[in-house]
């Protein structure tokens, strides 16, 4: 039932069979899944999608599997909130939050990509799944892998905070804490991936894994009543999500699900790690690697693998890019919680704060529709807000003490 034609190098176009490989042997470019869009156009339509379960597999024709979905049957189809309170404050007419703080089961958009990666790993016959991660990806591979019955190896830098380690350990994977930083962990994992027959979701399964990000874009279009927004703001770490969201919009147009597409794509980063937004602002294709220094740790990739492609999407669509300092990230996290009741992780603060800047500078027009992608839950990174929230009102366990405080609250003290 699959519609995959094979893998294709994004750089030189050389074609490869569907295997757990990710780099072109000839020019070292990244491999990408190639589909038979003609057949997909005949096989998929709005009615068919609407008749399916509300999970990310409702767009299965455009996902890189051959058999039935096996992992993530409860993942995806998160809310698209119409954010009227926030729109009023930012001074725009039509604003939406794509709320991936609530993806099943580990509360970040990584549950989407891991659903596809593990389904594919099973199709390839792997028994062990693995990843290098400092947070959301580790949680998702640990959890999805547990339910699907895989043996799991999770590689993290040993210096990671205890709370993040607990959130992986609870699923009882083999957690390998490496004496080194994230880049060193990654390099080690590439060597391990060459030696052992394991499915490293973000290494040898990456071409399939990355396709899972498209489901975020498909959902946005469906939830807007089968139309694409005028603007979309996407947070960037490796740049893969932004690239794939745009790919999803183009695919829906190519297979006839939507008739018109005129969306501008905007990239958001933290100023403490902004290789992609800096390249866009300087009008260059060259991504200069940086050493990350930001509270937005889930976006802290100094040498982004898909950075070049992300800048191309921004350019192609007439979008732009913006980055914001840590204090603005915190302010935006609080603003989103206060106005729309959504507690995003730091990356969500990055996206909202960048969107605010893009609106204020006129890059995003106030009378157009805009979607802000919030990709992870704030409960995971609470330490980022320590010292930045309100304090509780402390009282004695009697009515008089409460009413004393109530008076103060009423007076706005």
């Amino acid at each position: 039932m699959g519609f995959i034609r094979g893998l294709k190098c994004r750089e030189c176009g050389r074609e490869y069979p569907v295997d757990p490989i990710y780099v072109c042997e000839f020019c070292f470019g990244p491999l990408e899944v190639a589909y038979d869009y003609k057949s997909i156009a005949k096989a998929i339509n709005r009615k068919k999608i609407e008749g399916r379960e509300k999970n990310l597999w409702r767009y299965r024709e455009l996902l890189p599997i051959d058999g039935e979905p096996q992992v993530g049957l409860d993942s995806g189809f998160t809310p698209l909130l119409k954010a009227d309170n926030l729109a009023k404050i930012l001074g725009v007419d039509e604003l939406y939050i794509k709320d991936d703080t609530v993806v099943h089961p580990t509360l970040s958009f990584k549950d989407r990509v891991v659903s596809i990666a593990l389904t594919k790993a099973r199709e390839f016959g792997f028994e062990t799944v693995a990843c290098a991660s400092t947070g959301n990806l580790a949680h998702s591979v640990s959890a999805h892998g547990a339910r699907a019955g895989f043996s799991r190896f999770i590689f993290i830098p040993a210096s990671l905070e205890a709370s993040k380690i607990t959130a992986s350990l609870v699923y009882e994977p083999n957690l390998i804490a490496v004496d080194g930083n994230y880049d060193e962990v990654n390099r080690l994992c590439s060597e391990i991936a060459n030696k052992y027959r394991w499915a490293f979701v973000n290494i040898n399964i990456r071409p399939f894994y990355a396709e899972g990000s498209k489901t975020l874009g498909f959902e946005i279009i469906e939830q807007l009543g089968w139309k694409a927004p005028d603007n979309i703001v996407v947070p960037c770490a490796s740049g893969s999500l932004l690239t794939k969201v745009w790919k999803s919009f183009k695919e829906f147009k190519d297979v006839g699900i939507i008739k018109t597409l005129d969306t501008k794509v905007f990239a958001a980063q933290a100023s403490g790690c902004s290789p992609i937004t800096t390249a866009v602002k300087e009008g260059t294709d060259i991504i200069r690697p940086v050493r990350p220094n930001t509270i937005a740790k889930s976006l802290a990739i100094g040498n982004p693998a898909d950075g070049f492609y992300a800048t191309q999407v921004v350019k192609e669509t007439g979008g732009y890019a913006e980055d914001v300092p840590d204090q603005e990230i915190i302010n935006a996290m609080k603003l989103l919680a206060r106005t729309e009741g959504v507690f995003a992780e730091t990356a969500g603060g990055v996206t909202l704060a960048s969107a605010k800047k893009l609106i204020e500078t006129g890059r995003i027009k106030r009378d157009e529709s805009t979607v802000i992608c919030v990709t992870g839950n704030g409960l995971k990174t609470q330490e980022a807000l320590h010292g930045h929230t309100m304090s509780p009102h402390y009282i004695k366990p009697n009515l008089a003490s409460f009413e004393e405080v109530l008076e103060k609250i009423k007076k706005g003290l």
Binding site: V23, F28, A132, S133, N202, S298, I301, A305
Partner: protein, 92 residues
């Protein structure tokens, strides 16, 4: 004195297994083309139409040539050139 060129594992098949070969002084792109005379096929793996391929990094004495003068970067006697494929992937 001479120019040392470090060859990555995937390209060592073209250099008869040698990890390190001798290079020429002058522009990087000329060095690549000169290598091809000795080791046929290596230039098209590293470059296309006179440009270094996007997923191939070349370092001159540990500095990425993109931040020097790119393909026009001049290699001097005693310099060390490293050719390193950028491996896509491995990201959160």
């Amino acid at each position: 004195m001479s120019v040392k060129v470090r060859i990555p594992t995937p390209l060592q098949r073209l250099t008869q297994g040698k990890e390190e070969v001798e290079g020429t002084t002058g522009k990087i792109i000329d060095l690549v083309n000169a290598l091809d005379k000795k080791y046929p096929g290596i230039a098209e793996r590293i470059s296309e139409n006179g440009k270094i391929r996007r997923f191939v990094n070349i370092y001159l004495n540990d500095e990425d040539i993109r931040f020097l003068s790119g393909e026009e970067t001049v290699v001097k006697d005693g310099d060390e050139v490293s050719i390193v494929p950028a491996i896509a992937g491995g990201c959160r």
